[in-house]
Symmetry: C2
Subunit: 337 residues, 2 copies
């Protein structure tokens, strides 16, 4: 007699693949706009911008504009230019971020500020920012301009807020959520919302997509912050520790600190103040965060926001876009990169 | 018998006073918008922005918007918000400029980057830039948005161009004029042109004001660059030499270099390369520029552009605004500060 061994089918990891398939053709149009409109009579501008743009980010934000348009059944082409405008705002922000943080690596490559210097990096960020507004003006929707100019102002407020909170051990979870709502989620929500404007849908659809984007953005940033202290990721030998060395109070640290005993608190106080930044200190930080389960706790919060994002679009009819956007929210939390 | 001594009445120096009187009341409204809209939930933002904004620049650009509106007999109030938007773009540019140049003094005060650091200065520049677009969106004219977003892109191109030309002794007068047309004159012309849009005047009036602003901007920048090497200004003990120490190829240097003998050329090559930056070197540079009359030659060019600005508005009927704008163009060239 032979025993039949029943194995449960292994549930596939959530993935960005459905969204990438959904928007693949549209992204070709977006990428064409990006390449065309980063040109300038000054050759250094496309060279420097291309260094980051060609560096292969996920292009999450323009994908979200396209997926949101697809969810609404929009059949036009206005959203290509606007998705490129969103990516230009994001790129400008990354260039300035790398100057602000003094970063040397991004997406496995030397950062633009290292290769081309801070001055050129600041100025090319300004150029891309201006160019994004030119693209919006060409589209001609004041509503889109309002949404994205407001998002831009909120992003810079969030960045300043984060700068002020840097190396401040007393940063609370609420303060941290305010920061990431501004610096990350504002552009995610704007990227989704403008699709409803372009598709000429009502306020309710605008707000639904705004909510999807904002909650996805928060989930995405929480997961990002978790990855930087994830002991499993550490075992994979991936680069970690940027947040640690910069003294950023992200949620894994806030939670681990809150759950610490006196000796551990002393370590965190010294580390966030900048007095402990060696590789051994980073390894100790990752160990403390593992001990207090702070990466999982951060991912738990992220899961809640991802679920909120999924619920925000629950009212839309079933479609490939809805599946893709749901998967993207689950992926945002589950990813390890 | 007594001799009657006839003295010619001394011609008054051209001054900004007529323009300041013309726009004084309007500038109160503009300043109120500026103060109101630089606020943020993040206290560092108005603190840092206020450091520069309260530092007492001439506010040339918003004054030009108001004077241009007055020239056209515009009686509304839309231009206050837009003039504030123009000043925000200018302020954002100055903040980023000071980071890019590593400047330590502006308008007799320590620069924001010295007091608050480069990171916060970059980010608050971004905030003001976003805020300026929010103000334009509130006004609601796509034409104004197009003019100012284009001007912003051109400004950053000019700034990158200048950065690339820095320490390049082979920069020509034509290359230099391209740089200042972009980095300075584009915002002057936009500041004037938007008044015609707000006043709903035709294309010809838009172009006339655009030309006035652009030529005034070039004259203004040429005079600025002359002042930095003016031996008379040097005798007044004013701060000079920023352009020299930064290796900027401005017109006084370009002209002095072109008129130099072999020994003088060697000095300039070394100085622009950054190998001669002492106070003695600066004094020698000022002496060489005096010897070749390069400050006067620069001012002569500036006079031509100022005259072109004056001619651009010749077709408008006589008014206090026309007198003020004419005087302002003469002042731009004659000033020693």
């Amino acid at each position: 007699m032979t025993a039949t061994i029943h194995t449960l089918p292994r549930k596939a990891e959530p993935s960005l693949a459905p969204m990438m398939a959904l928007v693949a053709e549209g992204m070709n149009s977006v990428n064409a706009v990006i390449l065309d409109r980063m040109q300038s009579r000054i050759p250094l501008i496309p060279t420097l911008a291309g260094h980051l743009i060609a560096g292969g980010g996920k292009r999450m934000r323009p994908m979200l504009t396209l997926a949101s348009a697809s969810l609404l059944g929009y059949g036009g082409s206005r959203h290509y230019k606007l998705a490129a405008a969103v990516e230009f705002i994001h790129t400008a922000t990354l260039l300035h971020d790398d100057v602000v943080d003094g970063s040397d690596m991004r997406r496995g490559k030397k950062t633009a500020n290292i290769v081309y210097g801070n001055p050129a990096t600041v100025l090319v960020g300004d150029f891309l920012f201006s160019r994004s507004f030119e693209l919006m003006v060409e589209d001609g929707s004041l509503k889109v301009l309002r949404i994205l100019s407001n998002a831009s102002a909120v992003i810079s407020e969030g960045e300043v807020d984060q700068l002020v909170a840097q190396r401040q051990i007393e940063t609370t979870e609420e303060m941290y959520l305010d920061i990431i709502a501004a610096k990350t989620a504002a552009l995610f929500s704007a990227a989704c919302r403008i699709a409803a404007v372009v598709a000429e849908r009502d306020e309710a659809d605008e707000l639904a997509l705004d909510s999807y984007g904002r909650n996805l953005g928060i989930a995405f940033q929480l997961a990002d912050d978790a990855i930087d202290y994830d002991s499993e990721v550490a075992e994979m030998g991936k680069d970690q520790g940027d947040d640690f060395r910069e003294g950023k109070m992200t949620l894994p640290v806030i939670l681990a600190y809150a759950r610490s005993d006196a000796e551990e608190r002393k370590f965190w106080q010294e580390a966030i103040a900048g007095d402990r930044s060696s590789d051994e200190d980073l390894a100790h930080a990752i160990e403390l965060i593992r001990r207090h389960d702070a990466v999982n706790a951060t991912r738990e919060r992220a899961r809640m926001y991802a679920q909120r994002a999924i619920d925000a679009i629950a009212g839309f009819p079933a479609s490939a876009a809805k599946v893709a956007m749901t998967e993207a929210a689950l992926f945002a939390v589950a990813r390890r990169f």
